[in-house]
């Protein structure tokens, strides 16, 4: 009952913010899709945090640490913290180009800088194809949460959450998404902090919680960890992966355009590691601590992502509803940004005539269409036994990381050609699947590592052997 009341208040706040954003948003693509490039340091910081921290952060981290151990903090915490260097390497340049040439989407920048619609479409297609499954995992996260809270089948909760997100994205655009991200980011940070405090107190203190878990499963406190997961190749792969994959999420890339000035981007970069250093530790600890409790016997294989809700329900009962709202905030803030960035790209980058509808209205229609696709993916195509982590790493991260060499080359390298970029992306994506499904040996590394390496080599070779169009 408390949970339902909080959900209603929470949804009402989000919808209100969406409505207020709608009222002050002008009917121009720059304003609707990019909030007129007006996000100051605080909004940009929170929107980047809330957008990047997802259902994966709340449920996936705890589930993975329950399975593999504390090493989960290493590959996620430090890997994500150092990734913020890309706010300087990519974000700064993207912001400058966006301001100078009125770019709105990532493929628009890549395609127009090399005067190639084909490259633009390819870049967009990769972003869209690999982001839709990621969008669906946010809905699945909501479903798991609601199932744990109410007993309602997870598919129903997932669909309901997607519909609510759809409404406030349509009304508020980027401004609405940014404002709701601030609220959601704060809720998320407070919820995780309270959860770890309450649970540790219930388990007899921080040290007792660790000691009990260590006594039950000492291998989770070491590396390679449970199931010998954290071999050095995997450790290296994840550290490397986030640097290349995270800025290629269309919802993160698009946010580089929204900065009011470079100071906003700098602030986000500097403070990102601070938040990551503690926020990522909390769900990992909660997942590991579960082994020192009687709950360990109740978590079956394939249901590890339920460990955080179960721990909070049992050992942080007074704040259970609030923490679950925090988890909802994490996944909804990611999903709304994904919906908006995908619809922005599809409405702007596909070269069709837009006589009857404005670009903004097409974007809104696409939000509805994408929501429908995500729902279909959830209901028809997801196998929960692979876990959120498995699904994401197998599809989204590797596929998007391949776009990073092209992006950096377009921003910095004068000799890059459209053929170099197109070949790099196509061969890189094929490589992802060849290494992912062991057609080629990966020697223990993630497929993304080889795919990025190959895409860099192809990019350089093909660019050096092809001519750039004059004037580009």
């Amino acid at each position: 009952m408390i949970f339902l009341a909080l959900v209603i208040i929470y949804f009402a706040v989000l919808l209100s913010l969406g409505y207020f954003a709608h009222r002050i948003t002008k009917k121009t693509p720059q304003d609707y899709f990019l909030a007129n490039r007006s996000f100051g340091p605080m909004i940009l910081f929170f929107t980047l945090i809330a957008t990047n921290f997802s259902a994966f952060t709340f449920l996936g981290f705890a589930g993975s640490s329950y399975k593999y151990g504390l090493g989960q903090y290493g590959i996620m915490g430090f890997g994500t913290a150092i990734m913020a260097i890309m706010f300087y390497v990519i974000g700064r340049k993207v912001w400058r180009f966006g301001k100078e040439k009125d770019y709105i989407t990532p493929p628009e920048l890549i395609g127009k800088q090399l005067d190639s619609n084909g490259l633009r479409m390819l870049f967009m297609s990769v972003m869209v194809i690999f982001t839709i499954p990621y969008l669906a995992t946010q809905a699945i996260g909501a479903g798991i949460l609601i199932e744990n809270m109410t007993g309602i089948v997870w598919q129903v909760g997932a669909v309901a959450t997607m519909i609510v997100i759809m409404f406030y994205v349509i009304s508020g655009g980027m401004r609405g998404s940014g404002w709701t991200d601030v609220i959601q980011g704060i809720i998320m940070i407070v919820a995780l902090t309270l959860a770890v405090i309450f649970i540790s107190v219930s388990l007899g203190g921080f040290e007792s919680a660790n000691t009990a878990a260590y006594a039950a499963k000492p291998e989770l406190f070491t590396r390679p960890g449970g199931n010998d997961f954290f071999i050095p190749q995997i450790w290296f792969s994840f550290m490397f992966l986030w640097i290349f994959a995270d800025p290629m999420f269309p919802q993160i890339f698009s946010r580089f355009y929204t900065a009011k000035n470079e100071k906003s981007l700098k602030t986000a970069m500097v403070f990102y590691p601070i938040v990551v250093s503690f926020l990522f530790l909390f769900p990992v600890l909660i997942g590991v601590w579960a082994h020192g409790t009687p709950l360990a016997g109740e978590i079956s294989s394939g249901r590890e992502d339920s460990v955080l809700p179960m721990m909070v329900e049992t050992y942080a009962t007074p704040i259970y509803s609030f923490v679950m709202i925090g988890a909802l905030a994490a996944l909804m803030s990611t999903a709304d940004s994904q919906l908006l960035s995908l619809s922005t790209m599809l409405s702007r980058d596909i070269p069709f005539k837009k006589k009857r509808f404005s670009e903004i209205n097409i974007g809104k229609i696409l939000v509805v269409v994408l929501t429908f696709f995500a729902i279909v993916f959830v209901v028809m195509g997801y196998d929960p036994s692979t876990g959120i982590m498995g699904t994401l790493v197998k599809t989204t991260f590797s596929g998007l990381a391949v776009l990073c060499p092209t992006t950096i080359a377009v921003l910095y390298w004068k000799k890059v050609t459209k053929w170099g970029c197109i070949a790099s992306i196509i061969v890189g994506e094929i490589s992802v699947f060849l290494f992912q499904y062991n057609v080629l040996p990966s020697f223990g590394f993630l497929a993304a590592i080889w795919a990025v390496l190959i895409s860099i080599i192809i990019l350089v070779i093909v660019s050096l052997f092809t001519k750039k169009r004059e004037g580009v």
């Binding site: 504390l70 007792s208 470079e262 403070f271």
Partner: protein, 71 residues
């Protein structure tokens, strides 16, 4: 080498150093029964937290000294 280039090279070296330091292969297999736990956690966790905070300091230096705002 120009001053700007020197600073960029320095930044790249520090970034690379942080990345290499995060590959703490010497910490694999710890804690053994002989290794101490601090508040129940192995030392390598504190090492990673320290490294993450060092990244914050590195970014602060980049923001102040390397990243020049567009005029």
């Amino acid at each position: 080498m120009e001053e700007k280039q020197k600073i960029t090279v320095f930044g790249f070296i520090v970034f690379l150093a942080l990345f290499i330091l995060s590959m703490d292969l010497w910490g694999w297999g710890q804690p053994t029964s002989a290794d101490p736990l601090i508040l129940g956690l192995p030392i390598w966790i504190y090492y990673l937290i320290f490294l993450t905070l060092a990244t914050f300091v590195f970014f602060l230096i980049i923001a102040k000294n390397v990243w020049r705002d567009e005029k």
